[in-house]
């Protein structure tokens, strides 16, 4: 039967709109939030976190990712219309959310533990007002790790077929 000529030669998996969307989201999240957290936790490591600069960096990161994601989706839409979600899309999405939940739960507990450890390691009382900021950033890191996990599981799922 191997000599049969089948109706088409569609043996390769060309990525769907949703797969390309997951790839773009994974890439932009990693590229933008990697340096962001390096900058933020670098400030805490030096013991001189500045709320204004961290807030500014956060706004830039969110704005940059929004712009890049919008541009990417416009380009993807020009090369092929977005399809309706089918049952495989939903199955891949459901699995990605399961893994993302595990990542977020683990990250949130780690964030609380690390915040307590950092606060107790500081020698002065003046650092106490930095604790909520550190907790906020640690929880944001947990959320970003969960998002990264979600997009990674989606990318792998689409590449593997499911």
């Amino acid at each position: 039967m191997s000599t049969l000529i089948y109706p088409d030669n569609e043996t390769g998996i060309r990525p769907s709109f949703r797969e390309k969307s997951a790839q773009a989201s994974l890439l932009t999240t990693a590229v933008i939030y990697g340096p962001y957290f390096a900058y933020v936790f670098g400030q805490f490591a030096r013991g001189t976190p500045a709320v204004i600069s961290i807030a500014g960096a956060f706004i830039i990161a969110v704005a940059l990712q929004t712009i890049l994601i919008v541009i990417a989706h416009v380009v993807f839409a020009l090369h092929g219309r977005p399809e309706e979600k089918d049952e495989r899309d939903l199955a891949i999405e459901a699995r990605s959310f399961r893994y993302a939940y595990i990542a977020f739960a683990g990250g949130a507990w780690t964030a609380m533990g690390l915040t307590l450890a950092w606060a107790s390691a500081q020698s002065t009382q003046s650092v106490s007002h930095h604790v909520p900021l550190l907790m906020l950033q640690a929880l944001l890191l947990a959320f970003v790790l969960a998002e990264t996990t979600k997009f990674l599981v989606q990318v792998v799922g689409y590449r593997r077929g499911h």
């Binding site: 039967m1 049969l4 089948y6 109706p7 088409d8 569609e10 043996t11 998996i13 060309r14 990525p15 769907s16 797969e19 399809e83 309706e84 089918d86 049952e87 495989r88 899309d89 199955a91 689409y158 593997r160 077929g161 499911h162």
Partner: protein, 73 residues
């Protein structure tokens, strides 16, 4: 003994069904072409509902399209 798998004859049946393309079958079954490709290559097992839709699109009973192998044979 290997793990159970669901095999199918979609590719051959598409050929026998007026040289239907993956895209054509996908549109008839209401899924994306990538999903048909994943099913065809046995990477994704469809729901019972989708399996019936695919069989109907190929004008065959479901047991002629899909077959279950439990790994003992």
């Amino acid at each position: 003994m290997t793990s159970p798998t669901i095999h199918n004859h979609i590719r051959r049946l598409r050929f026998e069904c007026g040289e239907m393309t993956q895209q054509g079958l996908a549109e008839r079954a209401g899924v994306t072409r990538q999903t048909i490709l994943a099913i065809e290559s046995a990477k994704y097992s469809p729901s019972l509902k989708l399996a019936f839709k695919i069989a109907a699109a190929l004008k065959k009973p479901i047991e002629e399209v899909f077959l279950y192998r439990d790994g003992t044979d």
